[in-house]
């Protein structure tokens, strides 16, 4: 029975339970809703919740656990010499068995008997059914595949019986409890609570899962490359991972990537902070309400532009423009029209990223500036200060912690930004202080290490996790510090 049909059957039981519960509640109060503790619909919902949620939870749990149980059972049917191979190879064989099982499902019993006798028939037969095998397969694989099919069928059958059975049992249990004084309303509240807790648990567990997988993969990376070499190395030259040669020597120095990341982020902040902050001050302190109501959303539209759009804007417009203008300047100054700004450079990436960050700076700062109590403004204006004196000497100092927090949040975005730098910064991992030349960032290298044909166990690929962890801790640190500052600032006026 397919999962969808199991779900639909349970849903039908639940809906039927809803109506049954509702009418039982009403009839138990002689048809008068006022004689019930809760509204009649609550009794229905109570039965529905019991009939629906426990079986669904069971189903979810089953689906999470059963694949690993089945895979253990199947792996144990492999010949001993196969089981003793290294885990990566075993999992490759397991994958083959899985696809054979998929194929065998589509064959008729006669064909299966044939295949079991003559393994060489397997590949062409499966190919006819649209399943491509990498190797010819071996005899034990067919046996294992058959075991897999039967185990999976048993599992699915048990699942159907258990889920539908439990749904019926729960519905019956809930239905039995209904009587006029039963507090269905409060019980439904508990189901609500459980649902809300489940939602937040999923969110938290997902985060933890991502984090855990990053930690383990980073651990695997550091088992082949020493941490000191990674964190303090000044050469980034990962080489290629050739098959079978997992230990191939590459140099994984983080420093050039980190330098590029921070340099580009710095240029971006130099562009975004003054423009964004001045725009925010204008919006908050000077603009008339009408102008503000038009200009603020317009500025925030800038925040809605996908970063890849900024990226190709940098690639096709800003980069060539800077290159050409630099050639002209050089021509005027030295007579030699050689461009000193390259099309892909720290400057290009920083400039465009800065433009992308303007709305973040201005929108966050605007919120913080408008939070400064109006009494401060009045106090300053009331003794004869001009508006800009008021902004400079009273509003900004009062808003400063909040603005610093906002800038830190923006900086963490700049550090994690990917698409713009991929297109505009170049891929050369170098340490340089010349902003007119290409540099590269951590995010760019994560992208390039994970693009193309890869062997997953090589340090060349695993380094992406180490880089990811580094970025994660960098931005996490900035965010936590920013939140700390913002929170401290809020306490001043409450």
């Amino acid at each position: 029975m397919s999962l969808l049909s199991i779900f639909l059957i349970v849903l039908c039981i639940a809906i039927a339970g809803h109506f049954a519960g509702r009418s039982k509640a009403l009839s138990s109060a002689n048809g008068k809703a006022s004689g019930l503790h809760s509204l009649p619909a609550y009794y229905g919902t109570y039965v529905l919740s019991w009939a629906l949620f426990p079986p669904m939870a069971l189903m979810a749990l089953w689906l999470v656990i059963s694949p690993s149980v089945i895979s253990n059972a199947i792996t144990s049917t492999f010949p001993v010499e196969v089981q003793s191979l290294d885990p990566a190879k075993t999992s490759l064989i397991y994958g083959t068995v899985e696809s054979i099982a998929d194929g065998l499902r589509q064959l008729n019993p006669d064909q299966i008997t044939e295949v079991s006798k003559d393994i060489s028939l397997l590949k062409p037969l499966l190919a006819e059914n649209g399943i491509a095998l990498a190797s010819d397969g071996e005899a034990y694989m067919v046996t294992s595949a058959l075991t897999m099919i039967s185990t999976q069928n048993t599992s699915r059958l048990l699942l159907s019986i258990f889920v539908i059975g439990i749904s019926l049992l729960c519905a019956f249990y809930a239905y039995r409890k209904i009587e006029p004084r039963f507090r269905a309303r409060n019980r439904v509240e508990r189901f609500m609570l459980a649902g809300l807790i489940a939602a937040s648990t999923i969110a938290i567990l997902t985060t933890l899962g991502i984090f855990a997988s990053m930690v383990t993969e980073t651990g695997r990376f550091f088992s082949s490359v020493p941490p000191t070499e990674f964190f303090f190395g000044i050469t980034w030259d990962p080489r290629f991972a050739s098959a079978g040669d997992t230990g191939s020597a590459g140099q994984f120095g983080l420093i050039p990537l980190l330098a590029g990341t921070l340099y580009i982020a710095l240029v971006a902040m130099l562009v975004a902070v003054p423009i964004g902050l001045y725009a925010a001050i204008y919006m908050a302190e000077y603009a008339s309400p009408t102008l503000r109501s038009i200009a603020k959303p317009l500025l925030e539209v800038l925040a809605g532009i996908p970063t890849i759009v900024y990226g190709f804007f940098a690639l096709v417009t800003v980069g060539p423009f800077l290159r050409d203008i630099s050639a002209q300047i050089a021509g005027i100054a030295t007579g030699d029209v050689a461009n000193f700004i390259q099309a892909q450079s720290v400057l290009t990436a920083g400039l465009v990223m800065g433009i992308m960050l303007i709305p973040f700076v201005s929108s966050l700062s605007d919120d913080i500036i408008t939070q400064v109590p109006g009494a401060m403004r009045d106090g300053s204006l009331g003794i004869g200060a001009t508006r800009s004196e008021t902004v400079r000497r009273v509003i900004l100092p009062a808003a400063l912690p909040g603005i610093v927090g906002a800038l830190l949040l923006t900086a963490s975005r700049a550090i994690g930004e990917t698409m713009i730098v991929v297109l505009a910064a170049g891929i050369a991992a170098r340490i340089s202080i010349n902003p007119f030349e290409p540099m590269t960032t951590v995010t760019v290298k994560i992208v390039s290490q994970l693009t193309g044909d890869l062997e997953f166990t090589s340090p060349q690929t695993l380094v992406a996790f180490a880089l990811g962890m580094t970025l994660f801790f960098l931005t996490l640190g900035l965010n936590v510090y920013a939140l700390y500052i913002v929170r401290k600032y809020r306490e001043q006026y409450e």
Partner: protein, 266 residues
Amino acid sequence: MNTNIKQAEIDISDQYEKMRGEKVNVSYGDKQALFDVDVSIAANKVTALIGPSGCGKSTFLRCLNRMNDTIDICKVTGTITLDNEDIYAPSVDVVELRARVGMVFQKPNPFPKSIFENVAYGPRIHGLANSKADLEEMVVTSLQKAGLFSEVKDRMNEPGTGLSGGQQQRLCIARAIAVQPDVILMDEPCSALDPIATATIETLIDELREKYTIVIVTHSMQQAARVSQNTAFFHLGELVEFGTTDQIFTAPIDQRTQNYITGRIG
């Protein structure tokens, strides 16, 4: 003179007129808040503006140093003079005007700076002090005049926001005095304070009028009676009655004034 305002027989024309409002009309968008208000503010006296909530007394006060300019939809017509010069004339520098007519607000609003910097703020922006010593002297004098110096002299560098409510309000008064204004406007300066802090501020107001002209908006009729020499009673945007405080509280001419001070409206 507006005919519906009844002048008492006790004349106040012997007092030097520091400020004067003539046919002052104020509207916020479509809503008119003040109708043809005529008030004379005598020098070195305390003039109280009283009346029920929403009667326009604070609006009028804010006209006297053009704080209403900061509200976009607010429109002021009529004439307001300071030393016989129209403060709404195009040639007037609003910033300079506000330095001459300082303001203290309902809620104490010290800046998030040190006590010293709070008071030094005005002199600094107006360039009043010629040297550091000069500035320090100004701050000390202002704090002394505001009756706060003895309480804060050992902690001038601590934040002004750390003071008690009454001290904060006196700090705001010191901040206004430091600019050396002629007139100090006070918008319900005691409404956020406890009775003891209120009494301190009231004594201070009485002392300050030797040097400054004071206009105070207050909700409390007792306070008006205690601190002011002249009183203007506003109701629904109109100036109902204006006279000496004694006369207003003992022999009001208008029935509405009578009703308000005996607690029947408001």
